[in-house]
Symmetry: C2
Subunit: 284 residues, 2 copies
């Protein structure tokens, strides 16, 4: 499996290049956005949007601006989160505020959110509403993350937190794609739930890997309370890891069960592949 070779990946990369190419070369904002956009990432969320559009009968070429909007609001959230948690390295390169300064980085995030509004503007009320709601969830979820080191923080708090902080944007990617593909509220709701399960599994894996000190390209001065740490209060290290993996597998099963309700095609197959790729395939 090589996502970089997928048509959807090429579409989003090309749309991103065109966007940067069309911007004022001399402005510092362009330099920052170019830095952020060239700093890697698998483009999973925009690809999920395009594939969700396809399984609902849409053409991924017609959803690429919405997919780019998702990628930009995701980048904005990374920039703002890095500012808050003091992250110095993101995807192996210096974070935006380390390179350009605090004020410029915050405004770059604001600019990217606004650019994403312009990009999503032609896609209709349902898609735009879901887009805004995902942004609200992400901001609330990050508040929760910032606070999670304080006081008691149980499994319920953890799931609520990652649902908002991480799963909401996966959920919106899938539901927005569905709406653009012509889905009604019921089908878009199925896609939203699919995305939520994928995002939940993804965040548990991310937290588990950080817990196991496997990740070393993401150094942070701040630690939040994660699922294996919550389990560790009541069980051994080995059991906490095992139990976390079981939770990941459960979320992935839910996600793939939803995909199973769609007519099998190349796009459902690709969605299964990315679901596994960013979750169970990452497990040790």
């Amino acid at each position: 499996m090589n996502i970089e070779q997928w048509g959807e990946h090429k579409l989003i990369m090309s749309a991103m290049s065109d966007m940067i190419e069309s911007m004022d070369k001399s402005s510092q904002m362009t330099k920052m956005i170019s830095h952020v956009c060239n700093s890697g990432g698998k483009k999973i969320r925009p690809i999920m949007l395009m594939l969700s559009s396809e399984i609902c009968g849409g053409d991924s070429k017609k959803s690429v601006d919405a997919a780019l909007a998702i990628e930009l609001i995701h980048s904005a959230s990374l920039i703002h989160d890095d500012l808050l948690d003091g992250g110095l390295i993101r995807r192996g390169i210096p974070s935006a505020h380390e390179k350009f300064g605090y004020a410029a980085a915050m405004l770059c995030g604001d600019f990217l959110i606004s650019k994403s509004i312009e990009l999503i503007s032609p896609f209709g009320t349902n898609a735009i509403r879901d887009f805004g709601r995902a942004g609200m969830c992400m901001a609330e979820g990050e508040t929760c993350d910032v606070k999670s080191v304080e006081g008691t923080f149980d499994e319920g708090n953890y799931y609520e937190c990652i649902r908002k902080k991480t799963a909401s944007l996966f959920a919106a990617s899938a539901s927005i794609g569905a709406y653009i593909g012509g889905a009604d509220d019921e089908v878009a709701g199925k896609c939203r739930l699919y995305g939520e399960h994928v995002g939940t599994a993804y965040q548990i894996v991310d937290d588990l890997l950080e817990y196991m000190h496997v990740q070393d390209d993401k150094k942070s001065t701040h630690e939040s309370m994660t699922l294996p740490q919550i389990y560790l209060k009541h069980m051994s290290h080995e059991d906490a890891v095992k139990r976390s993996i079981e939770e990941v597998e459960k979320q992935v099963r839910y996600a793939n069960d939803i995909l199973g309700t769609f007519d099998p095609c190349g796009s459902t197959d690709k969605l299964v592949q990315i679901t596994n790729h960013i979750t169970i395939d990452m497990l040790p």
Copy 2:
């Protein structure tokens, strides 16, 4: 003239109360948004949106959610700007980051932008595109403001900076209102230009008053280069003030000339009143 008694003011205040009422009372986000929304402000931009809708044949009741979106993105920009310029007092009360902390304030701004996306979502491509573009301009304009203390900064830079930082949101308020009222691109363009002149005049007045040390409810640890300071390089203090006032009068004349091309009605009259109220009526 008492804006608080206008129907448009009552509509926006009521929509804002309803929004806060509908939110989770226990969350810190709600507390912050309540603090921000209850911290005054004349609601000029949302009222301008509703009145612009009316002069284009619309009903202000139908544009109130878009008006609230404008007010929220404005509040978000104030919160983020305060974080950057170290503003400790806003409208006579402590700024959001002084009261709730840095991280929470930044995320409150992000939440408000996202909420504004949800609110603007039913108003169609043109309105939403103008909304996003205004946000892009504001972020770029603030970058400019942050940089304006460095190096050379001439009259052209100043106008470009305030057009983006301040006038863009007035321009979008008027054009979005126009689109919602049923205007075509040409009429919406006239309204956009009207708003841009009002916003430009408003910012020159604000800068002039700060220059003259008249404002004392807005203390800041940061100073940016303003029009009277640019004039002062080449002329006396008195002439710099006089010349700045002439620039305000010119912008207001342009704005009111545009309003003069619409059929006179209660709403055009109110637009003239708020135009004057926030510009020439504020002059010493």
